[in-house]
Each structure stands twice: as structure tokens, then as C-alpha cells.
């Protein structure tokens, strides 16, 4: 198994690294001091641009370019950190907030200086009580030490960070819904444009970035943008740099969060980091690469890029599991990198049931503003329930496809696409599971936990 340096996660295993003295003994705040006292905002922005860091929240937009959209003459600019972590299968940001909150605080300090902001709001979903406590105490420590407040590191540039709790709504992870929620409103996404960089929190230009994106800024500034970018295993032309957190859950032996360069393969993630399939006699059936909104991949499906000038040509004919994971490489094979947290399913899983589980989630979480999303997600669940009851026909599988197709492309936010695309992939890649369900139903008897059920009783049975 290849071994990679812990960079972003280098304090995760240190005892009490969430306290300032320990974090500082292991390198925290050196970069923030340097940024504020020896670097200009433009220099910082240049390094972040050179780092080719793609947003870690799911959409993969280059952070350096996003920062460049801010108007030059803005009076008030805000930094907002997206810590709503709710994409099913995703559990990486929580590691940073619980184990090394000072890294995020330090990233916020450097970023605020770079983009001309004085205030950061960290929007954390309220269920993450431990993350909220760790962040609040880290912020208080930093303030006391003079790293935040009126004169951080002695510089006449006031900085403040506030933690803002959510209240339970997946949609608040969408950046404009998050901004409404921050303003004390219902978390309904806004029409874009205007984008948050022009008109965001409280009507002011705002940069919204994911926890991991901003927590990477100290390392980028420490090593230099180019050097940090070069950590990636992808060719430079992909402009997808650095190191990142990968997650893996479901039917593997050792689920968890691991750091590795951008561009490891799903095979590495599953069989090295994840320790391989949970049961040696139950092979991989499918893997959702980066959170539930990213279409499932089938291990037998191969890359088709016969033309020599196709950027994917080097992987022509290889399994989807052997494609290096990057924002654009995953898009090229019909899925998305998303949050880089994979969900692994073995052959005990009925994909129609897996789809039903997720469609129920999306139906529950649709904010209801757009008809195709609100009605479409409900209809998908209804049809899947009919299939489950055994009272559907094969035509209902086509109906699922039609409903999905009609949900895409004309809604306010990407939740509708994030519902329809995975639904389509489940059907396209595992049609037999749906047809079998039509024949014999999947009602009460179909469970997703057959692979592990007996082990849950292990102790009780003794």
C-alpha cells in the first residue's frame, strides 16, 4: 500500500491538538502570523490560485478563481464557512472541526486578510455539537492570545469569527440557502446570479467556502501554492492540485477518513484505505464515489476514450475503479467527485432499495420552491414504493427515467439534479435489480443490512 504524507491531517492523531498550546507547538498560527505581517492580500491570492485548489464542498470550483470575483471596491466583505456537512456518506469536515479546529481558524485569519473581510461566520449544522464546542473554544483561545480581535498579531486589522448553528436542513448546505439561513430566514436557495461573491450575506460580497478548502490555506501558504499543487497525482493539465481528505463507508473492513493526494483511485480507496470488502466472499457491486448526489459506478464498466487527444485517453479501457479521482476525471466518466467520500456496496445490496433509501432522503430535503424538484422527488418515491409492493409493471421503471429527466436543468438549485442523476445511474447500471423488484417486490423483506445483520447480535447472543 502506498503511503502518503499527512499534511492537512498532521495533527489529527496528536493528543488534545484542539487546544491552542498543543496545536501551536505543532505548527499552528505560524502561517497566520506570516500572512498578516509579511504578505500582501494579493500575494496570498496568487498562492491560492497557483495551488489549483478545487473547492472541497462538492462542486469543485477553483477557490483562487472564486476569490477573484469579489468587487475591488467593496466596503464590507464577508467570509462564510460551509460546515453544514450533510451530503449522505460525507463525514470529513467534522474530523477537522473536532480534531484540529485551530487549522480552520488559522485558515480563516489568512483568508479574511486576503479577501478584505473582517468577519467570518462558520455555519455548522447544529447536530455537530462537539464540532461547535471545539470551534467555539478554539476561537476564544485565539482571541485571548491576540490572534483575533482588534489587533491580530499586532496588525491594525480587526478580525472576528462567529460560529452560527444550523437547525436541521440538508438544503442549507447549498450556499445561497445557507446565506438565507444565516440571515435568520427559511433556508431556501436564491436564484443565481447574483452570485454570493457579488451579493451574499446581508447583501454584501461574500466568499462561501467549505471547511476543508479553508483549512488547506495554511498549508498552501506554508509550502507555496505551486509546491502544494504538485502534491497531486494528476497531470498538471487537470489543474486539480494538492492533498485532500477521502472518506469511505459502507461494506468495507475499515471505514474512515484518510488523507491522500488528489488523484488516488477508487480501487486504492476501497482495497487499501478501506481494508477491502467487508466479507471476502461478497464482491463489490457498486460504489458511490463522492456523496449520495454523485452517480453510482459499476466496477465492470470501462473508460471509453479511444482518441489520443482525449484527456482521459491514458485510462482508455480501464475499469472506472482505476481512474484517478479528480473533479474533471470523475465528470468524464459520467459521475462526480463530489465530497470525495465513497459509499461501498457489496452484492447483498439490491440497488432498487438503495435508490429508494436515497430518494426518500431527497424528497424529505427538497425545499419545495421548484415544482420539478418538489413533485418529482415525491413521485420517484411513490413509484419506488409501488415497485417495492410488487404492484408495478416494467413501464414504471421507464417512468422513473422520465420523471428524472424532467427534474433536471430547470430548478433554482442543484438539489434536483443531485436527485435525478443518481436515480438515472442506478437504473442504467443495474436495470435487472429494478426489473426483479417489479416481478417480486421488495417490501418488508428487502433490507440493506443483510451483510452485517447477524454481527449486530454477536454479544447479545453469548
Amino acid at each position: 500500500m502506498a503511503s502518503y504524507d499527512a499534511i492537512l491531517s498532521n495533527r489529527f492523531s496528536i493528543d488534545e491538538a484542539w487546544t491552542l498550546p498543543v496545536a501551536e507547538r505543532h505548527g499552528a498560527y505560524r502561517v497566520a502570523r506570516k500572512a498578516l505581517t509579511a504578505m500582501t492580500p494579493d500575494q496570498i491570492k496568487e498562492e491560492v490560485k497557483a495551488a489549483n485548489i478545487r473547492g472541497r464542498g462538492g462542486a469543485g470550483f477553483p477557490a483562487g478563481i472564486k476569490w477573484g470575483f469579489l468587487p475591488k471596491d467593496a466596503e464590507t466583505t464577508y467570509l462564510v464557512i460551509n460546515a453544514d456537512e450533510g451530503e449522505p456518506g460525507t463525514f470529513k469536515d467534522r474530523q477537522i472541526m473536532e480534531k484540529d479546529p485551530h487549522r480552520l481558524v488559522e485558515g480563516c485569519i489568512a483568508t479574511m486578510w486576503a479577501i478584505g473581510a473582517h468577519v467570518t461566520y462558520i455555519y455548522v449544522r447544529c447536530e455537530l455539537v462537539k464540532s461547535i464546542r471545539r470551534l467555539e473554544s478554539a476561537i476564544a483561545e485565539a482571541r485571548k492570545k491576540g490572534y483575533l480581535g482588534r489587533r491580530p498579531f499586532g496588525k491594525d486589522y480587526p478580525l472576528e469569527i462567529h460560529v452560527h448553528p444550523g437547525a436541521g436542513a440538508y438544503i442549507c448546505g447549498e450556499e445561497t440557502a445557507l446565506l438565507n439561513s444565516l440571515e435568520g430566514k427559511r433556508g431556501e436557495p436564491r436564484l443565481k446570479p447574483p452570485f454570493p461573491a457579488i451579493k451574499g450575506a446581508f447583501g454584501q460580497p461574500t466568499i462561501v467556502n467549505n471547511v476543508e478548502t479553508i483549512a488547506s490555506v495554511p498549508d498552501i501558504l506554508e509550502r507555496g501554492g505551486k509546491a502544494w499543487s504538485d502534491i497531486t497525482l494528476l497531470p498538471e493539465s487537470f489543474r486539480d492540485g494538492g492533498t485532500r481528505l477521502y472518506g469511505i463507508s459502507g461494506h468495507v473492513k475499515t471505514p474512515g477518513v484518510f488523507e491522500a493526494p488528489v488523484g488516488i483511485t477508487l480501487r486504492e480507496l476501497i482495497y487499501d484505505f478501506g481494508g477491502g470488502m467487508l466479507h471476502d466472499d461478497r464482491p463489490l457491486k457498486g460504489v458511490i464515489p463522492g456523496g449520495s448526489s454523485t452517480p453510482v459506478l459499476h466496477p465492470d464498466h470501462k473508460v471509453n476514450a479511444p482518441k489520443a487527444d482525449d484527456p482521459m485517453h491514458p485510462w482508455h479501457g480501464k475499469s472506472h475503479l482505476d481512474v484517478p479521482m479528480g473533479v474533471d476525471t470523475m465528470r468524464s466518466i459520467g459521475t462526480m467527485l463530489g465530497t470525495c467520500c465513497a459509499i461501498v456496496m457489496d452484492t447483498s445490496v439490491n440497488m432498487a432499495e438503495a435508490a429508494r433509501n436515497l430518494m426518500k432522503f431527497y424528497h424529505h430535503e427538497s425545499c419545495g420552491q421548484c415544482t420539478p424538484c418538489r413533485e418529482g422527488s415525491g413521485w420517484l418515491v411513490d413509484v419506488l414504493d409501488q415497485i417495492g409492493k410488487g404492484s408495478a409493471t416494467r413501464a414504471d421503471v421507464d417512468l422513473l427515467v422520465d420523471i428524472s429527466n424532467n427534474m433536471m436543468g430547470n430548478t433554482i438549485c442543484a438539489l434536483a439534479d443531485g436527485t435525478a442523476m443518481p436515480m438515472l445511474a442506478f437504473i442504467r447500471k443495474y436495470p435487472q435489480d429494478f426489473y426483479d423488484a417489479v416481478e417480486s417486490g421488495m417490501g418488508e423483506n428487502t433490507r440493506l443490512d443483510d451483510a452485517v445483520r447477524a454481527t449486530l447480535f454477536a454479544e447479545a447472543a453469548e
Binding site: 456537512e85 450533510g86 451530503e87 449522505p88 456518506g89 460525507t90 463525514f91 467534522r94 449544522r125 447544529c126 447536530e127 455539537v129 462567529h162 452560527h164 448553528p165 444550523g166 437547525a167 436541521g168 436542513a169 440538508y170 439561513s181 440571515e183 435568520g184 430566514k185 427559511r186 433556508g187 431556501e188 472518506g247 463507508s249 459502507g250 461494506h251 471505514p255 477518513v257 458511490i288 449520495s292 467520500c341 459509499i343 445490496v349 438503495a354 433509501n357 436515497l358 432522503f361 424529505h364 430535503e365 425545499c367 433490507r447 440493506l448 443490512d449 443483510d450 451483510a451 452485517v452 445483520r453 447477524a454 454481527t455 449486530l456 447480535f457 454477536a458 454479544e459 447479545a460 447472543a461
Partner: protein, 177 residues
Amino acid sequence: MTFSLSQEMEAVVDELIARYPTKMAACIPVLHLCQEQRGWVSPEVIDFVAGRLEMSSSQVKGVVTFYTMYHQHEVAPNVIWVCRTLSCDLRGAKTIQEHLERRLGCHVGGTSRDGKVTLLKAECLAACGNAPMVQLNDEFHEHLDVAKVDALLDELGVAPLPAELRLQPPAHEEEEE
């Protein structure tokens, strides 16, 4: 019956309001404080928050009904959220839910016979690698199995079930027969 916050909490509200350029922005955290004190978001709580943050009661109500973490009805002193999203389901969440329902004597959405615990279904709680999991009040309990759930419920003082009523392990798998 009107609602008011303790003096201590009132000071926190002032501090919260000071964090934002508008009073309304404190709505979500202030509602959390009120729920902490009252146990749920009653109509009186809504009126109180509206008055305190210069919002209309219908605006506050619109917020309360949008989010799942505000209880719009009274709940038991303990709330268990059981995650049933995909990663947890793959690792046994349905079994965990069935076991909880049996022992508590209520379905998801209900309160146990003894009134001690309200059982609710959660969507992914960002603990997928440690599935299956539940949130009990403020705390996550991860890597669960039937015995660990029993230990949690014992601690809450929920009566044990007679053996014949307990959830049974699945019959032996075919390949082992």
C-alpha cells in the same frame, strides 16, 4: 402564559444579536436557546422570539417549521435520533431502529411507554464511517450493535424487555447450514 428567558440566557441573546448586522440573524441561535430552556418551541416561544428580534410571529413560525431540529410539540426528556440514511442502513441501521422500537414500545415519531424517550428518524449525521449510529440528546453514539443500544437504554432507566419479546437475530444464513 407567556414565555421569557432566564436572565443569564438574556445576556447570551444580547451577545448573539451583537454578532450580526441585523437582529433577525440571531433567530436560529435564539430559538435553540429557547428550546433548550422550554424543551420545545411552543407558540409562546414563537411570540417571544418575534418580539425580541423585531420580527413578526409568522416570520418566526416560518423559520421554525422549515427546520427539523425544532420540536413543534412537547417531547420526552430524552430524544434519540436514529440515522437511517444509506451508509448507516448498509451497516444495520434498520435493525437498530427495530430494536429501539421494541424496547421503547413506540414507533419512530413516538414517545416510549414510560415517557422517558422520544424516538425520531434522522438523516445522515456525518458519522457514516462509524455506522450504525444514533444521536442521544447532544451526543453521538457510533459503531452500535444491539448490546450497545441496550446499555444506552439501561442508562436512561428504560425497563428491559422479557427475552421472548426481544428482537431475534436472523436465522442462520444458508451457506452455513
